[in-house]
Symmetry: C2
Subunit: 286 residues, 2 copies
């Protein structure tokens, strides 16, 4: 960081080009369980009285029964169905209010604290260090952009325009006698994962970042894009190997699988950070 | 501007929320002829030797003959075909170099100066005034985002991450033995015009701007979205009514038509600026 931020250094990078990108789930906060999925399941429960058919219809029945195996069995299609039923059919502002209300009260089942306190203390320190060296940090996540924007600023200090994520379609709409709004439609627009991440970085930022932080194979192309461009670059993978203080998972995990990217790290020069060995504190309240 | 930027004012807006959005063609620079279309036609001429069939195939024949009526007759589909043949099939970096080379030498046919000098002097002053009051200005244009990003920073002082535009699909790609890149595919992704503008503003910025500048019906929903939200807001339309110093066009023009938005302006409280009566200087070198 000193090398790129010190004027006169051979690796000096002007402030506007000091851009860092961060995955969110598993990189900035705990992803077991996936927070947005818990939100979706809680929404299914809240909406169930208006949908009596959900009691017998999959994947909704599994969601209502808390049957994670049943949800898993419904596959990607089932997951999309749950998201559309709970994330669409309202204005973007109404959705942001739902997320804000939920995240203000929901608690992580294992760590017994708000999800916003399952962010990683060392990563908050990295964000602060980058800010102190003239960097702007963007979140580039498979999570829904309008879900993350609700808490990214208070929790990470990352403003809405620096949050990039997956999107569903929205439509401009002026309700009779009311202010214009955007209506969330039950249709996927863009999945910001894997090779989609460099695509989104180019589309939204229009510059190639010089530092990238991830934790799974879904971040591999983002790290390749950032560190493969020559010049002083940083690629970093968080390795979840601490079952006692957090969760241990990598090559076999259905969520946040870290396998190909872990194999690619040494040759690519990416740092692999062991939570167990290298993080003094995992969560801010530890 | 004083009202929203003065602490203690009832209309005070904190700096991070001081966001302004600008259409580009016809709002920040001259759009007759549409600069990106001229670029596409020049590219057709440059590429013609590699495509002998273009001499007899529409819309390429019309493009090579400079036959604007023929291009018009090919309609939206013909236009898309011209854009795809000239804007895709290369990396984003190679495309940016093509645009930079072209815009460095091409000259406006009527005003005999580089297109980057057919920007509007009063709008440069507005951009500077906004910057001086803590605003960030975003371009939100139907033009191609990777076309505009090449000149938006040197010409307007608007950095790449504040340029929003139409996009074609791109694909992440690692060429054998070379650095990772994004390949531009001959397929439309998003048209940032009309109701697409508020959609893009929400997707990219995630905040509702408080000032919007446009000049055509394609900017109408953007102005509605920005000014229809309550609070102190500014909506402004540039009216091209100066045939002597620029070009006069509005309700009947095939490009940059200003008709419905002009009718809507009084009730919506949008300022309509007459170039003829209100602009002392049109271009910086006048």
């Amino acid at each position: 960081m000193r090398a790129v931020a010190t004027e006169g250094s051979p690796d000096f990078v002007p402030v506007p080009e000091r851009v860092a990108v961060f995955d969110n789930d598993g990189t900035l906060w705990c992803e077991i369980p996936t927070v947005q999925l818990v939100f979706a399941l809680d929404r299914v429960k809240a909406l169930a009285p208006q949908h009596p058919d959900w009691r017998t219809r999959q994947p909704f029945k599994a969601a209502l029964d808390g049957d994670m195996a049943g949800i898993g069995a419904a596959g990607q299609r089932g997951l999309v169905e749950l998201v559309m039923a709970t994330h669409a059919g309202m204005s973007t502002e109404a959705f942001a209010r739902l997320v804000a209300d939920w995240i203000g009260t929901a608690r992580h089942p294992k760590f017994q604290r708000p999800y916003t306190r399952t962010v990683y203390q060392p990563m908050l320190e990295v964000l602060a260090l980058l800010r102190g060296h003239g960097f702007r940090s963007f979140i580039v996540s498979g999570g829904g952009v309008e879900f993350m924007r609700v808490f990214a600023e208070p929790v990470y200090g990352v403003p809405p325009e620096q949050v990039i994520g997956s999107t569903i379609r929205t439509e401009f709409h002026i309700p009779q006698g009311s202010r214009p709004e955007l209506l969330r439609l039950p249709e996927m627009d863009f999945v910001d994962d894997g090779p989609g991440k460099p695509v989104a970085i180019n589309r939204f930022i229009g510059r190639r970042p010089i530092a990238a932080f991830g934790n799974s194979d879904g971040d591999m192309q983002m790290l390749q894009y950032v560190t493969g461009a020559g010049g002083r670059r940083l690629g970093l993978l968080v390795h979840h190997d601490d079952a006692a203080r957090e969760v241990a998972y990598d090559r076999q995990s259905p969520f946040g699988r870290l396998d190909r990217a872990l194999d690619a790290a040494p040759a690519a020069g990416w740092s692999v950070v062991s939570i167990q060995r290298e993080w003094q504190r995992v969560f801010p309240d530890d």
